[in-house]
């Protein structure tokens, strides 16, 4: 992500990249199947642990001030918890697990790889003992450094105490030799570890993602937790009590983690580090942005954005402050995962880890239309500004109704996105196009043959594969043309864009290259509608 950050700073490079491309020699032409090696992954580059870095600036000072206020309050969660602690949560160190426990738990881990292990007929079978649980494609576990379960994607954490104990033992065993466990491969399963200051995140997957991509997913999950708690809170809690049961503070937030993981299985946005924009006439979009600027001139309002069906309609930001795509995904996830904003105007704290992991922003969240499709979020550092923002929201809504902008948004939503046929390129089945400097991407609707769920999953797997082959740090590629049994893939990365295209299996290399040149011209023509070239500032 450090890499992405840098990219985002890049100015749009000349279009020569696109025009010069007649018929290059693809550096690698291969039919090779997924014979991947998982060596030499640049771990630090992928998941940049810059959370305790202290961004400076006026807004950040307020954010941090806010989190200090929390410290001063006498009844912050932690202190109240210590009154209720049970004897079980004593100071004993949970990383010290007896040998018996380890062998027992290793058995359970091995069950993950050997689903054929027969079930004992017990009266009550825990979910975690079932075949179904073991065969899940992608497990995600979160545990504290002390080995206490925090979250599991499937099943009940309480039943996984031993498995998580083993995970924590593995991590500390490798840490003992001043090293870091990154991943293990066992058969077609990958065990990927993300070790953070207070939390250990583990993913066990037999899906199509590479370990690097899983690592990215795990760092999203970690950021989701920070988004709910802030790093300061997390740090404070575990500094006071290593054995703290974090689930207490995450009650009700599991659905954000669940939803995020489900979104990552099907949405390419997080893999690409880019958001999808709602296709809109650039003039309409400008109008919407200007309406927000004019009616939300409020001190300390940092970001104002409108989302519709997980797509960005517009974003207005304070000068000098940027919204990282990762943070934007967390905001989208927040809105996507909760129905509760539909009932009334809401006022909730949210931490944007890339923006500032040490404190909360306050979000005023409301839907602008009766059908609850268009969601307005106003993010401020002033905890008291609810009523001011609520007034802004009413003015914005009034103007947007008057200018027919809300109707334009719902019309665009009705039309869904666009069909691949609109690009007018035969043989092309589907594509992802990411504008690197805008951190936005576009893709057509999924059409036949990608209508069934399994086919969609397979398509997603193809993109995972293509993305991985191009971005693997062992040998990063610029262009990859690869023929598979069911489709031909072409990936192309330049300084200004990333393109992943899926063709029918019989397309020739020449035809594919002509097709993507045509596609690039089409995207260029539609750019104003599909992307937001720059975000308006207050």
């Amino acid at each position: 992500m450090a890499e992405r950050k840098k990219e985002a700073d890049h100015l749009p490079t000349s279009e020569s990249d696109q025009d010069d491309f007649i018929e290059p020699d693809p550096p690698v032409v291969t039919n090779q199947a997924v014979a991947d090696t998982f060596v030499n992954i640049d771990y630090e580059d992928l998941v940049n642990p810059d959370y305790d870095s202290h961004p400076s600036g006026y807004i950040h000072e307020i954010v941090r001030q806010g989190s200090h206020d929390d410290d001063d309050e006498p009844r912050v969660a932690v202190s109240s918890v210590s009154d209720v602690s049970t004897g079980e949560e004593s100071s004993e160190d949970h990383t010290e697990i007896s040998t018996k426990e380890i062998s027992q738990a290793l058995d359970e881990v091995s069950k993950l790889q050997h689903p054929e292990v027969s079930l004992e007929d017990e009266e009550e079978i825990d979910e975690v003992d079932t075949q179904e649980w073991r065969q899940r494609k992608k497990h995600v576990f979160i545990l504290s450094q002390a080995g206490k379960p925090v979250y599991t994607r499937f099943g009940n954490e309480d039943k996984l105490v031993t498995v998580m104990g083993v995970m924590s033992a593995l991590v500390s065993f490798v840490q003992d030799s001043k090293d870091l466990v990154r991943f293990m491969v066992a058969g077609d399963h990958k065990f990927v570890f993300l070790v953070r200051e207070h939390l250990i995140l583990v993913c066990v997957s037999h899906g199509a993602e590479s370990s690097q991509q899983i690592l990215l997913h795990l760092s999203y999950v970690y950021n989701q937790i920070l988004s709910v708690l802030t790093f300061s809170t997390l740090h404070r809690i575990f500094k006071q009590r290593r054995n703290y049961d974090l689930r207490r503070l995450l009650t009700g937030a599991e659905k954000f983690l669940d939803n995020l993981l489900n979104m990552m299985d099907t949405e390419p946005g997080m893999l690409l580090g880019a958001v999808r924009c709602l296709p809109l006439d650039s003039q309409v979009r400008d109008n919407i942005a200007q309406t927000i600027v004019q009616n939300a001139k409020v001190k300390d309002l940092v970001f104002a954005l409108i989302l519709a069906n997980n797509q960005l309609v517009t974003l207005v930001r304070m000068k000098k402050y940027f919204l990282h795509p990762m943070d934007l995904h967390l905001i989208i996830n927040l809105v996507n995962a909760s129905e509760s904003f539909k009932a009334a105007e809401s006022w909730t704290p949210i931490c944007l880890p890339k923006f500032d992991s040490s404190g909360f922003l306050q979000a005023h969240i409301s839907y602008l239309d009766d059908r609850c499709e268009t969601c307005l979020l106003l993010l401020s550092v002033d905890r008291e500004s609810f009523f001011i923002l609520s007034e802004c929201r009413n003015k914005i809504k009034e103007r947007l109704v008057k200018y027919n902008a809300l109707k334009a948004i719902s019309d665009s939503l009705m039309k869904t996105s666009y069909s691949i046929q609109q690009c007018g390129i035969s043989d092309l089945r589907h594509f992802l196009y990411k504008s690197r400097h805008m951190a936005q991407f576009t893709s057509p609707e999924l059409e036949a043959p990608y209508l069934s769920e399994t086919e969609q999953e397979r398509l997603c797997g193809l993109y995972f594969y293509l993305h991985h082959r191009i971005h693997t740090s062992a040998r990063p590629l610029k262009i990859l043309y690869t023929v598979g049994p069911h489709e031909t893939l072409l990936g192309w990365v330049t300084q200004s864009f990333e393109l992943y295209a899926v063709f029918g299996p019989l397309v020739t290399k020449v035809a594919a290259i002509q097709a993507i040149n045509k596609l690039l011209r089409w995207v260029k023509r539609e750019e104003d509608r599909l992307f937001i070239p720059n975000h308006v500032t207050f």
Binding site: D69, D70, E73, R75, V76, A77, S80, V81, D83, V228, L229, T233, R248, L249, L250, T251, G252, A253, K255, L334, S338, E339, S340, F341, A343, A344, E345, S346, W347, T348, P349, A363, I365, R383, E384, S385, F386, F387, I388, S390, E391
Partner: protein, 213 residues
């Protein structure tokens, strides 16, 4: 603070209580007149209610512990607090005292605290009552030592069911009558809820006809 002068509500009512006791369902039963099982609230939700000439601000808060830091904002200057607990859960009753009463330090000095037992309908079926009426009533008297409860029509304790709609409106009217009492003329206006019930037979049409003749 500037905000409060801009859109000044005449009364601020705040609903506090543990996670999953049914606070949002309770508010929605009152505001919309329907019962829906609600998704957990995120942060806090704001409702504005007209009561005669008065604007009543209702804050429905999330029960999760991590939002405790935010409570200072909506507890400040609250004129009334609804302390909700689940009658089938002792711990939700205990948290009122342990977690939520202290938050009300920043409320108005004469803030009325109404203790509300939720999920009365569950008691009819197989679930057992965990908190007795006496216990809850005693508690409700104790926490209201700041005001003279002898002037109140009854103890500030209610048992309600958002599912069936029993006692929900009563709680709010009890509060409003105490904090912002209406004159008789205002009451008549307030009685008109502004909701048109389509399923109700309308007699007005018949009357109009008579007038014509």
């Amino acid at each position: 603070m500037m905000a409060e002068t801009k859109r000044k509500a005449d009364l601020k009512v705040i609903i506090l209580g543990d996670y999953n006791v049914g606070k949002t369902s309770f508010v929605c039963r009152y505001i919309d007149g329907t019962f829906q099982t609600k998704e957990p609230t995120i942060g806090a939700a704001f409702f504005l209610k007209q009561w005669g000439p008065y604007n009543i601000a209702v804050w429905d808060t999330a029960g999760d512990e991590r939002y405790t830091g935010l409570s200072n904002f909506y507890c400040r200057n609250a004129g009334a607090a609804i302390l909700a607990f689940d009658m089938t859960s002792v711990s939700s009753f205990e948290s009122l005292w342990a977690r939520f009463i202290p938050l009300l330090d920043s409320a108005l000095e004469n803030c009325i605290k109404v203790v509300v037992g939720m999920k009365l309908d569950l008691l009819d079926s197989d679930r057992t009552r965990e908190i007795t009426i006496e216990e809850a009533t005693k508690f409700s008297r104790e926490i209201n030592s700041n005001i003279d409860i002898s002037h109140l029509p009854k103890d500030p304790y209610f048992e309600t069911s958002s599912l069936k709609g029993s006692n929900v409106t009563e709680v709010f009217e009890y509060i409003f009558n105490h904090c912002v009492p209406l004159t008789d003329a205002e009451k008549r206006v307030a009685g008109n809820t502004g909701i048109v019930d389509l399923s109700k037979p309308v007699n007005d049409g018949a009357k109009d006809k008579k007038k014509c003749c």
